[in-house]
Point group: C3
Chain length 139, copies 3
């Protein structure tokens, strides 16, 4: 049994879902492990992780439209406004999605379903540098 | 330290929460491991996983009522409608709940609380065949 | 490779986010492991786990304000009311946040981001005794 870790650094340029499936899958495949479990962990509270359909890009548009309506920018409900009118909504969106994901490795590949992609969800409007930690244990 | 994997195949017949606690717990108990961690991973983007109360079935009815109101079918907000008026709502419901769960194994049993059950949440109206991957590491 | 488990018992006194970062981080640091993955698991369906900003306490106030508005107590939608008008809302809030979290251990420390804290989110109004199971695997 052994372990590997990796860090993905992604420079975002606005609020949207960024597909990181390829980078994550390649890293896991290159581990030469056959069976194991991958943990993804994002080190932020205004960006999150999401497994989502990666076939029709309209799904990404609609997902963002839903969250924009559910957690509106500049909502007068919020008192934490010093970091921008999109900051507290970004924290709420992060709470409603994922900070960590666990994906089994089976037969040397991540056990993603046919239509599943792994996304970093940037919730802030301005550019940020985001870090995702990967940890793989198995053999 | 060793690992085991398993696949649960569930044929759903409509939108609701399906209790998979018994099948998951039995498999984990049969592993003969004393200490470890179980990962559950669902390979879909229109069905999800949820830990929920499994005592009063009214909780399941109310949970579904809440999600049906929060993410209405046929919402004119959505442009991804080719796969049905319940498809994009299913993706959003999946985003708001879980694609992966991690449950410790302690003293040879899953560390579920007294009222906790493990559910597969089918978000589509038509029947589907759903797959959940289980991965257990421990000793 | 080895494993450690631990149980955190927290007596809550009302609906709010309780910061458990210090207790979790100390326990992980005392494990003397360098690389690994920590699983946190809460054994309840009306309290949950959340990674959130721990710098400005206004964020915690706003987070609670958002969930209170999204899932109102005493909502006539709900039929499961025997355990109190805040019980079914607590189950929904739990479904919308996390029952389990996975955090990598890198260089002997949890890979938390600079502004991230680990919170137990009590969703009931009355006092409760809440249990969180910690499982760490690594070396």
């Amino acid at each position: 049994m052994h372990q590997l870790t990796h860090q993905i650094v992604l420079k975002t340029n606005g609020r949207r879902l960024y597909d990181i499936t390829s980078e994550v899958s390649s890293w896991a495949a290159n581990s030469a492990m056959i069976t194991g479990v991958l943990t993804l962990y994002i080190q932020h509270t205004s960006a999150s992780l999401l497994i989502n359909e990666n076939y029709d890009s309209d799904v990404l548009v609609d997902m963002e439209a839903f969250f924009a309506r559910l957690v509106p920018d500049g909502d007068p409900l919020f008192i934490h406004t010093a970091e921008g009118f999109d900051d507290m909504p970004a924290h709420v969106r992060t709470a409603l999605t994922q900070t960590s994901l666990s994906i089994p490795l089976v037969d040397g590949k991540l056990a993603l379903g046919q239509w599943q992609g792994i996304f970093l969800y940037e919730h802030r409007l301005m550019p940020y540098t985001r870090k995702v930690i990967l940890h793989l244990i198995g053999e």
